[in-house]
């Protein structure tokens, strides 16, 4: 008895199968698809790498070439959108793109390379130009003094100040 009812149900529903892959499908507005780093906007601060649970985004310095590398490996990405949440400049966004399949493993990498500033004292590259500009714009002018020093030299300098009780 119940079975016959289901047949009429099936007839009334009709065809539900999507035409995909022969016709495109709609995904909702907030779909968490492929993350894309906008190289123009990225400042190389590394917030995304800190937040990324699977370490799909890694940020490291290539000291020899004097660049900071922001490396996103899509294969390991879990599409949680934490990077999008924490990015201070909105450089990384999750798009609606979901057709990411590829036969080539190398296609799954996104790399952004940013030039590093050299420390004005010891000459070691330590931070990107863009990040320093971002920091400088957000602090009052008198705090920008030690901006061009690498963390070690900065520490040395401040301890000197403390020792002498004044800025020399």
């Amino acid at each position: 008895m119940g079975r016959l009812k289901l047949i009429s149900k099936a007839l009334s529903i009709g065809k539900v199968t999507e035409k995909y892959p022969f016709a495109p499908i709609e995904v909702p507005e907030d779909y968490r698809g492929k993350p894309v780093i906008d190289g123009e906007k990225c400042i190389g601060c590394g917030a995304c790498a800190n937040a990324c649970p699977p370490q799909a985004i890694q940020v490291y310095d290539d000291v020899e070439r004097g660049v900071r590398v922001v490396h996103l490996f899509l294969g390991r990405c879990i599409f949680c959108a934490r990077c999008q949440d924490v990015c201070p400049v909105g450089a990384i966004k999750l798009t609606k793109e979901f057709e990411l399949a590829t036969p080539d493993h190398d296609d799954l990498h996104q790399v952004v390379e940013l030039k590093l500033v050299r420390c004005s004292k010891c000459g070691k590259p330590f931070d990107t130009y863009r990040h320093l500009i971002q920091v400088a714009e957000n602090v009052p002018p008198w705090e920008r003094e030690l901006l061009l020093l690498c963390p070690e030299c900065r520490m040395e300098k401040t301890s000197e100040w403390r020792l002498w009780g004044c800025r020399k």
Binding site: T17, E18, Y20, P21, V27, K34, V36, I37, G39, E40, C42, P53, P54, Q55, A56, V67, F73, L74, G75, R76, C77, I78, F79, C80, E97, F98, E99, L100, A101, T102, P103, D104, H105, D106, D107, L108, H109, Q110, V111, V112, E113, K115, Y129, L132, I133, A136, E137, P140, P141, W142, E143, R144, E145, L147, L148, T158, W161, R162, G165, R167
Partner: protein, 187 residues
């Protein structure tokens, strides 16, 4: 890679079930991949393709290798999900091998087996449509859309940034200096 109907053997190497259910979902009415000639089979000997999920746990490794080598050539591996593509969230723990690339390395070094053709389908889990797209790619029905992206900071913007940074630091020079707190505090 393979032009005709794909018979798929589902190989779970320790995944969380998310991808496995999406693989099953492909056979449900909404996506119904049997219209493309895709069928799940029970034995690796019958299969043309392997729906590979999971990061390959240590316990599974010998069994996965057995199942993988049992599939006759030519074969296609569909690496489904973040775990299979790159080891996922647990890619470097003590009991996980860390994705299909690492497995191929072991196969090459210890068994001298060349890695089979592989389609990587990232996602956690990928939509059923994303898996269908990967299958269609393996059958040569579609072109791939995903390419590597490299951005290198261009020289001209670097110049502008340099001068901007210098200007900002120069502003600092003229401002009043404050003593550090520790020196100001008098006992």
């Amino acid at each position: 890679m393979i032009k005709r109907s794909l018979w798929v053997f589902h190989l779970n190497s320790g995944s969380c079930n998310g991808c496995d259910i999406e693989v099953l979902n492909m056979f449900a009415p909404r996506n119904d991949v049997e219209r493309l000639g895709i069928k799940l089979v029970g034995s690796p000997r019958h299969a043309d393709a392997i729906a590979f999920t999971g990061p390959i746990t240590r316990e599974c490794l010998p069994k996965v290798i057995d199942a993988l080598t049992a599939v006759p050539d030519p074969k296609v591996v569909l690496a489904i999900g973040a775990c299979a593509c790159g080891g996922g969230i647990w890619y470097d723990t003590y009991s996980v091998i860390g994705g299909i690339k690492e497995l191929y390395k072991i196969l090459k070094e210890e068994y001298n087996i060349e890695p089979p053709a592989t389609v990587f389908i990232p996602g956690c889990p990928p939509k059923p449509e994303a898996i269908i797209y990967g299958v269609a790619l393996a059958r040569g029905m579609l072109q791939k859309k995903q390419f590597a992206q490299v951005y290198v900071e261009p020289e001209e913007s670097l110049e502008a940034e340099k001068s901007r940074l210098e200007a900002l630091v120069r502003e600092a020079k003229g401002t009043r200096h404050f003593l550090p707190k520790i020196a100001v505090r008098r006992v």
